[in-house]
Amino acid sequence: MFAFVGGARRSLSASLMLAAATLALIGAAPAWASEAAVAIGSLYEPQNLDNTAGAGQGINEAFNGNVYEALFRLNDDGSVSPSLVKDYKVSDDGLTYTFTLQPGVAFHSGKPLTAADVKWSIEHVTSADSKSSRKNSLKPIAAIETPDDATVVVKLSSRSISLPYNLSYVWVINDQATDLQSHEDGTGPYALDSWQRGSALALKRFDKYWGAKPENDGVVYKYFSEATALNNALLTGAVDVITSVQSPDSLAQFKDNADFTVAEGKSTTKLILAYNDRVAPFDNIKVRKALARAVDKAKLLSAVWGDYGTLIGSFVPPTDPWYVDLTKVDGYDPASAKALLKEAGYPDGFSFTLDTPNYDPHPLAAQFLQSELAKVGVKVKINVITPNEWYTKIYKAHDFQATLQEHVNHRDIVFYGNPDFYWGYNNPKVVDLIKQSEAAASVDEQTAKLKEANIQIAEDAASNWLYLYPQIVVSKASVSGYPVNGLNSQFFAFGIKKSAD
């Protein structure tokens, strides 16, 4: 017996020693009390701090506009406005952009911002080893010149009407900064205070910020791997606001409770059934149209999201300037779906494999599609895969018949202008329209071209666009001033106010 109790004591004292060792290991306590900061709960922890190296959407949520700023800012309402640029001029041929930088801007390390930093930052994204998904959109940039410290001249090889928009993704970083995967040196209203991998990232107000002072002293992003844990954290007051609610079931506990505010914004996340348009039978436009008509999308949306979310008739959400209501092009009509299948040479239907990502809402949507399409004689085999497999099998190898996927980006209709994209949609007219839209001389011209492209992809039923997700932010009632649309996963923290509960 004595040996036994002694054993237990030993492990107890071992754990105490371990705790003491841990204390020593972590080092000095930060002077600032992060406990008083606004706590933002999120499911998307960044895996590193560099948005050109596979950090995931979490880094945009935490850092865009908060820690790093760009020449332009994509505002929460979808408009683009100058940020680090004070003023800019475009030459008549649209090929030379001259940017004048804001005066008096300093990096968190104290170094003043100069044109050389901007040049370095843009080249950081366009460089050979950049993994930025934005690299392609900056291809027209031929040269960057810095005639003086406050001026950046960008020369283009072809017109690029979206250049300011595309530059809103390019963080301006101190050109002397190193180890960007675990440190930062930006110009934003907050500086990184501490990052505890796997749980939290704390941002502290930067006192020498050139712009308007943030409404709070600092914010802490707290990360969760599970929606239930995140909701419980809000319920118990461990976080003040949740960046986006991913499951409608959990909304009930917040909706009818005066302690919480449920805000619905505008999302750009689309759930789509993407066919491989290269292979039979999906190379046949009639088959694609038939499948679009065979699915009662309103029923699917209400099954997944209840009263939330929006139906869409193409890839373009209502917040994009080139939105047109196309939901009637291939509205729900199982009878005409059957007729179209007969015309296409499939009077008895056919069967196909649907590669389905293993996380919500894809499995549910796949089952719904299976039962809807069975009614018109089309058999669906559901093949569940992980996101990583999806990338290898579908995105890279194009080895699939059809797949489900959520597309989160803003202004991403341009994917339909790339015949090499995974879904293999290739209509030369659309490719041309999208190319012309980028070379447009005015925003009106760009909008007109993209509207035309948008209508065309809908007429071609290029993919089966199921619905647009809702964007729901839930907070304590005492917290206000947060962004509700979260375009491109951004979550500007500087306006958040917390009144005493």
Partner: protein
């Protein structure tokens, strides 16, 4: 150990997918994908990847994460500061619960509460650990607001009270599940002791029932229980994977899960390597503890040598 490493390496590579995928996103072109594959080495032949991995391991170099670029050993060290206290505290609490209850269940097996303990422990074994975690959160965190529902303080153990508060529910969750299965072993070991000849002899020599049990019984009963404890401690470490997820704790388990999702091989291999090592060490420690408690096992070992 070497076999474990090889099996681990091959099994990981059998998973479809590519670690380079974690580095690029939708919108990347073929050249960017190839560059990412070169960076993580997934474009090399498997055999070459394996040789490199073993060679690095021989220098005790677990490499750096593909995704975050942080050295694996550093990240594991940081995460062990959550997982080890969690496991050890849960282990100690489980023993503290299981020992008295298990012995009670054996000694008073004919009373109603003896039976109740047995039934409760059977139930505890049958219920999945995450479910107990969720129930405890709903009760103690959401309803009663006694402890935080999840997470770990930003300052970690610099804030020892907050850290302990955060660990309270996860520790309780693991301790309950572990105690449930321990109680069975303690009970059956105690039953063996109670029915044994030496105990009857001790009673015949004039000791009271209680004295005989404490003096002779517990030491004898402890031997089989200790070997079970070794196994249980190892499985607690693995059970922490699930519990850390439910409670959003930045421990080894969450590192493993994210690593698998992203095919971040260095992280996954590192975590599995270290945990295999810990499991082996625990088994070894349990062996030694058994010998300390039971002189017969010790004599046996010495006898074998001479």
């Amino acid at each position: 150990m070497l076999i474990a490493i090889a099996v681990l390496f091959v099994l990981l590579r059998l998973l479809p997918g590519d670690p380079a995928n974690a580095l690029v996103s939708v919108g990347a072109d073929a050249a960017q994908i190839e560059a990412a594959r070169r960076q993580v080495g997934s474009d090399l032949p498997l055999a070459e990847q394996f040789v490199r991995f073993v060679a690095a391991l021989a220098r005790f170099d677990l490499g750096a994460s593909f995704v975050s670029g942080v050295p694996v050993i550093e990240e594991i060290g940081r995460r062990l500061t959550v997982t080890l206290p969690l496991t050890l505290l849960a282990f100690v609490s489980a023993i503290a619960l299981a020992l008295p209850l298990g012995i009670l269940a054996a000694v008073k097996r004919r009373r109603w509460y003896g039976g109740l303990i047995s039934i409760a422990s059977q139930l505890g074994i049958a219920v999945p650990v995450f479910w107990i975690g969720i129930l405890l959160v709903t009760l103690f965190a959401v309803q009663l607001r006694l402890v935080p529902s999840s997470g770990f303080p930003a300052r970690g153990w610099l804030d020892p009270l907050a850290a302990l508060r955060q660990l309270a529910l996860p520790v309780l969750t693991i301790a309950l599940v572990m105690a449930a299965s321990l109680i069975r072993y303690v009970r059956s070991a105690s039953l063996d002791v109670i029915g044994s000849d030496y105990l009857r002899t001790a009673r015949a020599l004039g000791s009271g029932y209680r004295e005989a049990l404490v003096r002779h019984g517990i030491r004898n009963g402890a031997v089989p229980v200790i070997s079970i404890l070794g196994i249980e401690l190892a499985s607690t470490l693995l059970g922490a994977v699930v519990v850390e997820r439910v409670f959003a704790l930045p421990g080894l388990g969450s590192m493993l899960l994210i690593g698998i999702e992203q095919r971040d091989y260095p992280n996954v291999q590192g975590v599995l390597f270290i945990s295999t090592l810990i499991v082996l060490l625990v088994g070894f420690a349990a062996d030694i503890a058994q010998r300390l408690v039971d002189p017969r096992l010790r004599d046996h070992a010495i006898g074998g040598r001479t």
